[in-house]
Amino acid sequence: MQIYLPIAEVSVNAFLLLGLGGLVGVLSGMFGVGGGFLMTPLLFFIGIPPAVAVATEANQIVASSFSGVLAHFKRKTVDLRMGTVLLIGGLIGAAIGVVVFNYLKAQGQVDLLVKLCYVVFLGVIGGLMFMESLRAIRNTKKGKPPARKKHNWIHGLPFKMRFRVSGLYISVIPPVVVGVAVGILAAIMGVGGGFIMVPAMIYLLGMPTKVVVGTSLFQIIFVTAFTTMLHATTNYTVDVVLAVLLLVGGVIGAQIGTRIGVKMKAEQLRILLAIMVLAVCGKLGLDLLLQPSELYSLGAAGGH
């Protein structure tokens, strides 16, 4: 069934979009990532103009994250306090990120920078997470108890706060810094930032994996809602018909994903996310290294 999208001005297969939305929704619910880093390239591939794809994707992530976070609220696996602290950092970071993005745009080559950003961050995060979870799985098999959380310099910082749901008593400085850093990257790369946020919460803040997913989703809702409004009012690139098609699949997928995620072990969850992140990284890396079949590309005039 073909549907004509009013803003994107292309006609697409409705069932294809429902399927894509569902698939990314499952991953979103399982890992607490918005799925933007997967969906946006997929939308480019089926011929949605990039600007519309990025903006509409933000809108769809709001839906799947909201659906996912409700499921997590029921399980009490959302650390609202931590989420709020991260969000404050995130919004500050996003504002800085937009400034940085516009500066780079004026210099040209912003596309390349975004791609390089993706490859580097996905590669590093995916690689580290893969190694760590592999070690954890091996240790469980050997019957060793999981390593206790170590006390490091982070615990010496001032402004301590108790995060009861996460079982942490740490300074607010590290979460705010993580929030800012992710906010900057999210604005530059045009994604919710879940795939950076989740590992940062696990490894830098030492939060339990189960809480991380819900808290990340909670934070993503606000960041992507903010982005959606920004795109809708300045670039007019949010296609609500496309968003509806994606989010119908997405919200259902997120519910299923959350249930799968609950049944799985934390290490398994982490290693799967790591493999997925590495796969996307590999694909983007190859695009940069291999000769494209069409050397020329068309764009709206007036761009860089």
Partner: protein, 253 residues
């Protein structure tokens, strides 16, 4: 809805010098883009009206062009730098139609001479206007060629030679396929009669491509009340997220 035999707009253009005139009909002079729009086909047909018997030195040829709204386009080229493929050179094409189709009754080179093409800008390369590339780019033609190649691949540019059927040098008809990815605007439609490569008569009309119904409403809202449109999008997202969660919870009980 595909080919409504609507407005048979018979209009006669009186060119004093022309001995042969075009009487035209369109299957539809309006294309409505609704939600399930999946491309459209426009039937262009007409007759040649003449005062004197047809001259029999050269056979009559018909060329039909349909051209979408023009817009400037940037064409970028990738090159390998430091081991990775990056956009390096860019050429701005001043005016490139979003859609351009030519249908002819004979191979274009037979139906139209080079000079006449230059005058009326009929062939695809002529329909694109590119004034000068930046100084450092010496092969600007390869950029316009790339534009045509990419647009042709997605059926946005079409050259359909020998698809206009002409009967008795009087009646002609052809069908122009409009792709599903169609932008709004007035699609300028031109019909040329040629003899020996020279244009002997020309007829211009327009096909109006418009979004209708929900498509129209959403598009207008997104431009004129962007803030409300944004809030509406978010509202839908939140509602859908809540609904899915509620439905799944209900199922589990």
């Amino acid at each position: 809805m595909r080919s409504l035999f609507l407005a048979l707009a018979f209009v006669v253009v009186n060119l004093p010098a022309a001995a042969e005139e075009i009487v035209l009909g369109l299957s539809s002079d309006q294309v409505s883009i609704n939600t399930n729009f999946d491309g459209s086909e426009i039937l262009v047909f007409g007759a040649v009206k003449r005062d004197a018997p047809a001259p029999d030195d050269n056979s009559l040829q018909v060329i039909v062009t349909v051209s979408g709204p023009s817009e400037p386009v940037t064409v970028r080229r990738k090159e390998k730098r430091f081991g990775i493929w990056v956009n390096t050179d860019a050429v701005e094409v001043d005016r490139a139609p979003s859609f351009y189709a030519i249908a002819t009754s004979a191979p274009l080179s037979e139906a139209l001479s080079e000079t006449e093409d230059q005058r009326h800008k009929i062939s695809i390369p002529r329909a694109i206007r590119s004034v000068g590339a930046p100084m450092n780019i010496t092969d600007s033609e390869s950029f316009t060629e790339a534009l045509i190649r990419i647009k042709t691949r997605s059926s946005q540019y079409q050259l359909n030679e020998s698809t206009v059927s002409v009967d008795e040098e009087t009646l002609f008809r052809t069908a122009i396929k409009l792709p599903a990815a169609l932008t709004e605007g007035d699609y300028q439609t031109r019909i040329f009669l040629t003899r020996g490569g020279a244009v002997v008569s020309q007829y211009d009309t327009s096909i109006y491509v418009r979004k209708v119904g929900m498509e129209r409403w959403l598009f207008t809202l997104s431009r004129e009340n962007a803030f409300i449109y944004g809030l509406m999008s978010l509202g839908i997202a939140i509602a859908a997220g809540w609904l899915a969660s509620a439905v799944f919870t209900a199922f589990r009980r």
